[in-house]
Symmetry: C2
Subunit: 220 residues, 2 copies
């Protein structure tokens, strides 16, 4: 329907939903589903059908009126948009309980994000093997990443060394950081940071325990 690519500003919220759409269509594709309509997506994802269509419209045309969307096609297009149509190397810093769990739990099975090296600042952990990968000293992030050229990093170290580790990651060429340490880290403008804090999530849920009817919509 539209004619050409649209270099408009994409709402942050749209991008977050795109990642969810991608997961859903990937699941549907793996299940063998061939078609999906925006109203079916509403059922599955919890966002409105119009929201779904509007989100996609920022990136061009995806479906065919009267029919819906090809799941396979949607998956390919969104994967390309999200830049997950190929493998990304990832550095993991922090070989503690959480870091080890992440290395084994999610990544190795879910394609396209490969943890290529693990680092730690704790001398006791250096040299040991986690999820089949040797743990290096965090001092060597720069050197090791010369070979790997990873642009993504995950921080699972204690708060007091998080900033230092972030600096080293950035220094080694990392441009996207997922930070599990409960502290805000300062990075150059070209580096994107996403945060996750268990306590923060639980605090939000605790709030809603006393305010059950605020904001019941919003799904993933």
């Amino acid at each position: 329907m539209s004619t050409e690519g649209k270099p408009k500003a994409i709402p942050q919220a749209t991008l977050e939903r795109m990642a969810t759409y991608l997961r859903i269509v990937s699941d549907l594709d793996n299940l063998g589903t061939e078609r999906i309509s925006s109203s079916e997506m509403q059922q599955i994802a919890g966002f409105s059908a119009a929201q779904f269509r509007k989100d996609l419209s920022y990136f061009g045309d995806f479906g065919t009126p009267g029919v819906g969307y090809s799941v396979k096609h949607l998956r390919q297009r969104i994967a390309k948009i999200m830049n997950t149509d190929h493998t990304h190397s990832v550095l993991l810093v922090g070989a503690g309980k959480l870091g080890s769990a992440l290395a084994e739990y999610d990544i190795l099975r879910q394609q396209n994000f490969h943890i290529m090296a693990i680092f730690d600042t704790d001398p006791d952990k250096i040299g040991r093997s986690v999820a089949g990968i040797t743990v290096h000293s965090a001092e060597h992030i720069h050197d090791v990443n010369k070979c790997i050229c990873a642009r993504l990093g995950i921080i699972t170290v204690p708060v007091d060394v998080a900033q230092q580790v972030a600096n080293q990651l950035v220094d080694s060429g990392v441009e996207g950081i997922l930070n599990f340490a409960a502290t805000i880290i300062k990075v150059p403008a070209h580096v994107k940071v996403r945060y996750f804090s268990m306590k923060r999530e639980l605090a939000l849920l605790a709030y809603f325990l006393e305010h059950p009817f605020d904001e019941c919509l919003e799904a993933e």
Copy 2:
């Protein structure tokens, strides 16, 4: 400055930031800092000073003009608002790598959220001990929670049993769920769900690798 409590609708985004403010003032308090101004908060949190003041204004008056905010007072007030001024019992379902790591890593040290019971659907895991807590069968969630009365739950089971586990949690009285399984779960309207997916976060970071100058603001 204002006269009375304000039962206005609180923006979701404000609540998310409130949780961050709470972490920051808690840290400052522990460090012995006594006062903070909104502009100092801007430095630390990355949100604008006006944003900080506006967010607080939804909940009443907190500071004194010309002086700033008492860190201790702010901490108490926000903790009360977020409902984290007392301990919450939490149920954890899924004693795999991630669940075990969460049980040990974050919660036990960070006060006010206590994992009181761990469950799993895998017979091999039932009866074993994780982080000093015996793993029960997920079938017994309802019974066990009769004693515990937890209103918060964490799901770290595989996607195919996530919905079933969610149902059992809700059935046992849980009203807030933190879901690490990569699937959207359906719950009654009074139950709040927060999602976390590693792949989703990494996909977003991957997007920004190719779009480094979109949305550089936004901190935690």
